[in-house]
Amino acid sequence: MLLTVARCQMRSILSSVVDVTIQRRWQRTVSGAAALAIVLASTACGSTGQDDSTTPTTPTTPTIVASMSIWADITRNVACDGLANVETIVPLGGDPHSFDASLRDRETMENAELIVANGLLLEESLNDTIEAVESAGTPVIRVAEGLETLGTSTKENQTGNDPHVWFDPIRVAATLPAIAGALADVGFDRAALDDCVDAYTAELIDLDEEVAAIVAELPADRRVLVTNHDSLGYFADRYDFEILGSVIPSSSTLAETNPAELEELAESIEMTGVGAIFVETQHSSSNAQALADRVGDVEVVTLLTGTLDEPGTEGSTYLGWLLQNAQRIVDGLS
């Protein structure tokens, strides 16, 4: 259509000598408007910095920004009793792989004292913005990068670092001192943070025991996982599951599935008799559903993998969230 518009334009340009006076008047108005726009834009450019000091946006409690809801909750527990106001960039239910920041999010991040990100390229679409904010001077801690990480389950690519570390509560506990350290570096009270870390570490150890108890209901030969994307590696590592494969054989939800590998996976599901395929709420499960239909007698179970649940529900805190997922995994497989 644009093509025809363009052609019509050419013709009308070639032939138009009509209406010169009105044309001129139009020219003037429009170039006036254009000039106004440019002036407007350049005044916006010109009024550099001087407002920064006159409009202080210092809230009563300092603001920390976490990339995703799970790390936000964990950070809230490191800065417990409201030491910090923790905001989240990826909204509840959003996919941390694909979420792209808006300009307002960028502002939120720049105004934060500290940014808590997962790292290991989990925040694929957000990464650029995080890096830009970091180079503009806001400190960033990438919590997963200080841990001992696992490769992705896919056989041919062991180089990738699986970013989904929060599925192991012991690894999460290991990140707490680093988060506390980063908070202390930006001016939080070290002693208060240490108390919070001690209390929350104890809770995480209890959580680990509870999850282990839930998983213990499942006989060892049933501890086989098929997932939508490679998200449960750390859960499998911690609680002795085997990962049979995933519909999207990548640690990213943004990758594509491939028919040959899907066929292979279907055969292994049939052979091992796995009862469930686990999918995530924030990503299309149509391929997983098709796989389940093809194999038959396989349930598609939804987990919350990269996000907490709405406030007021069991999965609205990290502790409840992991218990809920563990329960769903065990129920799906038994």
């Binding site: 093509l3 170039s31 408007a33 792209d100 300009l103 307002r104 960028r106 502002e107 694929e124």
Partner: protein, 301 residues
């Protein structure tokens, strides 16, 4: 309605408060200068489909450059050159019309990019997303430098080849007779087109750069007729669309690149509607004037 009731905090404050907003606006304006200068010729010469194809055709080049670790701009330019070469070859050796060869290569290059992506398991898909949709929230100074260079090349190219582009647009054989070397001019125009697409990765992204290549010059050509005026007005329109798009993204948390592209297209339709309205009004006026004259004539006779 805050943009009317509280204009200062809606229109100005986001820019006065945040350096990244000013950077984003600057990047947007540099993009607009480049795309408007090149896009004017694209619109006048009816090359929109080629522009669209090129904007997507650079993707496999970006993917390959990314994998082997070369600068993605170089990969993109190489892919654009390959595509233009392919179109030229098909044109020379077949009776097929240009849009067929463009279409075949367009889809071929796009599919190639997706195939290359799918063989890569590492999580770099996010980066490709960035190329498709831009990442104006993650601009750094090297991006601004790249865009400034592209704008400078576009300005220089349009100044140097102005006469050749102009004559070629309206009469190719006349261009040849005048010794303006239309082949060279055509190649230069395609090169400028590739540059403007490659330079816009960061601000609006590859899928959406087209909105800035076509909509502002098309809107400008509806209301002014001289080519330099079309360029100036297009830059004005594009700048305004960038400005509004950034503010919409800021206030409503919408994706920045798409907001800018959308406001550019909406601006085109507003201008189109106004120009249609104006033309029919002018027609009616001249018709009633004719009628008056005719009546005066008949009563006199």
């Amino acid at each position: 309605m805050e943009f009317l009731t509280d204009p200062w905090s809606w229109w100005i404050e986001p820019f006065s408060r945040n350096e990244f907003m000013r950077d984003a606006l600057l990047a947007g304006i540099l993009t607009v200068v480049t795309t408007s200068l090149v896009g004017t010729w694209v619109v006048l010469r009816g090359m929109s489909f080629l522009g669209d194809a090129l904007a997507h055709g650079v993707l496999p080049g970006i993917a390959i450059a990314f994998i082997i670790g070369v600068d993605t701009s170089i990969g993109a330019l190489a892919a654009a050159a390959a595509m233009i070469g392919g179109i030229t070859v098909i044109r020379r050796h077949s009776p097929l019309p240009d849009d067929t060869s463009i279409g075949v290569l367009f889809v071929g290059f796009l599919a190639l990019a997706v195939v290359i992506m799918s063989t890569q398991r590492a999580s770099y898909t996010g980066d490709l997303n960035r190329f498709l949709f831009g990442s104006i929230t993650g601009l750094d100074s090297s991006d601004l430098t790249r865009q400034a260079i592209a704008a400078a090349i576009a300005i220089a190219g349009v100044v140097v080849f102005y006469r050749a582009f102009l004559v070629m647009t309206f009469d190719e054989s006349l261009a040849r007779m005048l010794g303006l070397r239309p082949g060279l001019a055509q190649a230069a125009l395609l090169f400028l087109l590739a540059i403007s697409i490659v330079a816009s990765f960061e601000s609006v992204g590859n899928l959406l750069v087209f909105a800035f290549l076509i909509a502002p010059p098309a809107a400008a050509s509806l209301i002014v007729k001289r080519v330099p005026m079309i360029m100036v007005v297009a830059i004005g329109f594009g700048t305004f669309a960038t400005f509004v798009g950034l503010l919409v993204s800021y206030h409503h948390r919408s994706a920045a690149g798409a907001s800018m592209a959308l406001s550019s297209v909406i601006l085109f339709f507003i201008v189109l509607a106004l120009s249609v309205f104006r033309r029919s009004w002018a027609d009616r006026r001249s018709r009633s004037k004719l009628k008056q004259l005719a009546q005066a004539d008949s009563s006199a006779g």
